[in-house]
Amino acid sequence: MSATGIGAPVRRKEDHRFITGKGQYTDDINRPGQTYAVFVRSPHAHANIKRIDASKLKGRDDVFVFTGEDIAKDKVGGLICGWMIHSKDGSPMKAGPHPALAQGKVRYVGDHVAVVIADTLAEARDAAEQILVEYEVLTASVDTATTQNPGKPQIHAEAPNNTVYQWHLGDKAAVDAAFASAKHVTKIDLVNNRLIPNAMEPRAAIGEYDAGNEAFTLHTTSQNPHVARLVLSAFIGIAPEHKLRVIAPDVGGGFGSKIFIYAEEVVCVWAAKKVGRPVKWTADRTEAFLADAHGRDHVTHAELAMDAAGKVLALRASTKANLGGYLSTFSSSVPTYLYAPLLSGQYDIPAIYCEVDAVYTNTAPVDAYRGAGRPEATFVVERLMEVAARQLGQDPAEFRRRNFITSFPHQTPVIMAYDAGDYAACLDKALEMSDYRNVGARKAESKAKGKLRGIGFSAYIEACGIAPSAAVGSLGAGVGLWESAEVRVNPTGSIEVLTGSHSHGQGHETTFAQLVSQRLGVPIEQVTVVHGDTDKVQFGMGTYGSRSGAVGMSAIYRAIDKVIVKAKKVAGFVLEVPEDTVDFNDGIFSSKATNKTLTFPEVALQAYIAHKFSGQQLEPGLKEGAFFDPTNFTFPSGVHICEIEIDPETGATRIDRWTAVDDFGTLVNPMIVEGQVHGGIAQGVGQAMLEGAVYSPEGQLLTASYMDYTMPRASDLPAFNVAMTSTPCPSNPLGIKGCGEAGAIAAPAAVINAITDALGHENIAMPATPLAVWKAAQASATKMAAE
């Protein structure tokens, strides 16, 4: 391993601009003549718009106001949901329209009613306050569990009973038979709490129109600028694809919430032409709370069937998934194909059946958020396994071990074919690191202090590296999920790598350069990674689902293969030896037919000056591209162990230690991988203990600022004890599995399993706030007194 190659903890190339304040995020960009947009948003969860009165702004030639009527007049298409799900009866999902500006009706607090555009932000805000909107307020339906009930307000005429689809996966008859023969059945009811993503950079967009070239530019906070361009062009119809440039510059975190194509982006691009000047919009934090796509929000009943010895026979789950007031870009896929296929966990479960009702409510749209479906699945599986072990009186670690899948490949009953893993290796290492054997003594010590100590496991699996295009196409995806790369070698031997992935914190500028540096033997400083601009980079699919290593880097790998093949040809001509005798190692071209050698930059120069070969023999230049379509998902896995101590008098719950052992296959940069694990755990702990979106029964978002929505802070979290094992992934050339979501997937179950272990009962929901824990601890005390 070289100091900058695969596996080295290289310090990040991108950091210098961030630590010196020279990053360039969308809101840092101002365009000449720019105007500012402010959105008039619905204060009601469900209402008919009777009248929009902008007469107070009459005669103001410095203010533009546009409403849904203008959008309709210009035939601007609605926002789309790009994944078709069919119900179990074969009917397609029932989706209502999703206009960029409301057409007569609003469906959640924060829904877009009008846009006001003025010379300055302050003027636009002042003008927005002059607009009077008269609403006919309707009763709202906000509760996931009951929104399908008879008599509930109907949110979209197209979706009777507020039901988008009733989907299922698995063999129901086989599962029913297994349950009928089971010696023991464990049943649980779970709520997977609704979360608000809260990337620290609020969303922003700048639309621009160049009348001379009849071309648009959109600067936006996006994880996938090409997908944004495709949707804005092909579906929303604002501009032809080749006349729309989408630039996602530095992006301050995404976590899924910046995958989607939002109304504000549509409006800024469209309005730029109408206004004749660039239009900039930047969300304030409350707008982010109201109108960014939220995450999770499942209500689930699940059961596990076991034989007398505790071998799992079958699992079944029934879930209601809240998709909010409209279907966001990929929302339909999250509680279906990103969820139910993960319900086998790390376990050999012969039969699984899952049914999912996706429902509309008068709340913000819900879509993928870090983990997307997989945290929900892991929470179901790992709560079931923990509760089952307790009910059977078995050690939770050994109960899991007894049910682990031990040979690969392993076909689960729910689509997935796991290709590689060693689940016992992760468990053993985690048990050792967490000093599990002495947890009894630590519990006794805590008890002596009047505290309650608990330990919780989470043995998770996730499906990453999305995904084989044909496979996802057969499941309803509207796009392919390959990735693209181009490796451009310059005449001096420096290199630009153009990737369809997008980095918004993951460190691609470093890790992708490590790959190039290692394979072409050039110093890492000679490699620049280019991403996030549709005018510079070939079409690509972007970054989400922990796919950029497994899929994005694989495309670069394949492009490098082609560069090497071509460079060897060039070297053959220059060295005057047959090309098949040319070797390339550590940046040096050599041949057994000569004792002359060439460096990589020397060959690069020869490729461009083309003096040693004719155009008939070889094309000049050294630039190659590749599209990589994976053959399978990747299956990162691991064991996280959380140990907590509760003060039953106050409910204060302190995480005493956190052990994480993950198998991500090949690690490109272990420093960055560990950072991804840390951040994921923090978000998972946030879900388990702190965070939760709360809507009032009327549909008002009660958690719409950092004063109401509890973000994890430094003092809420411990230092994390993180380690890795490795079984390389066989379905991509580097053996990478992906690491971006693991912590957020593993953590919630580990925390709740620890808290319920301490409490001695299972009755606590996420977020387990101090108040919730205190109440639950009182119940424990009552229970103990009664016994």
């Binding site: 020279k22 360039q24 809101d27 620290m200 950092y706």
Partner: protein
Amino acid sequence: MFFKSRKDDRPAAAGGSPGSSTAPGRASVHMTVNGKTVSGEIDPRTLLVQFLREQLRLTGTHVGCDTSQCGACVVHVDGRAIKSCTTLAATCDGATVTTIEGLAQGGELHPMQEAFRQHHGLQCGFCTPGMIMAAVDIVNRKGGNVSEAVIREELDGNICRCTGYHNIVAAVRAGAAAMSGASRRQAAE
């Protein structure tokens, strides 16, 4: 809006005192930002962060929440860390302001910047300027031998969504030690 560099830097009163040339409804501010004197005529409701970002184009200071909760906007005013998203620029008239852009001296990174890079204390980079400015302030107040527990407590006003704080805490510890080492070296010289 105008900018000029002034050698003899006497701040003028905000809001325009009688006899000054400030236009009605405008406030005039003068401050020293990253060692340079700047002045401007502003809408009195202009926030310090807006003045820095929009007028001075110092976009390293970020707005993450508008409610003083997240700390992406932390800058130093007269040597103390403050949240520039809820500070009126006019109230900083006459003040000395340091932003993330002013931390590195003579092309050399500040020890705290270097520590964040070395310890992978940042991912997306959006909270980072505020984190680093807050961290320098912690060391200024608490000294170089600051414990993990104190750092976690003191970072209460800064939210990071990417790192889980693990590496930020490591970076602040290392940066604190490096800062006190540097100041000891300076004292010895």
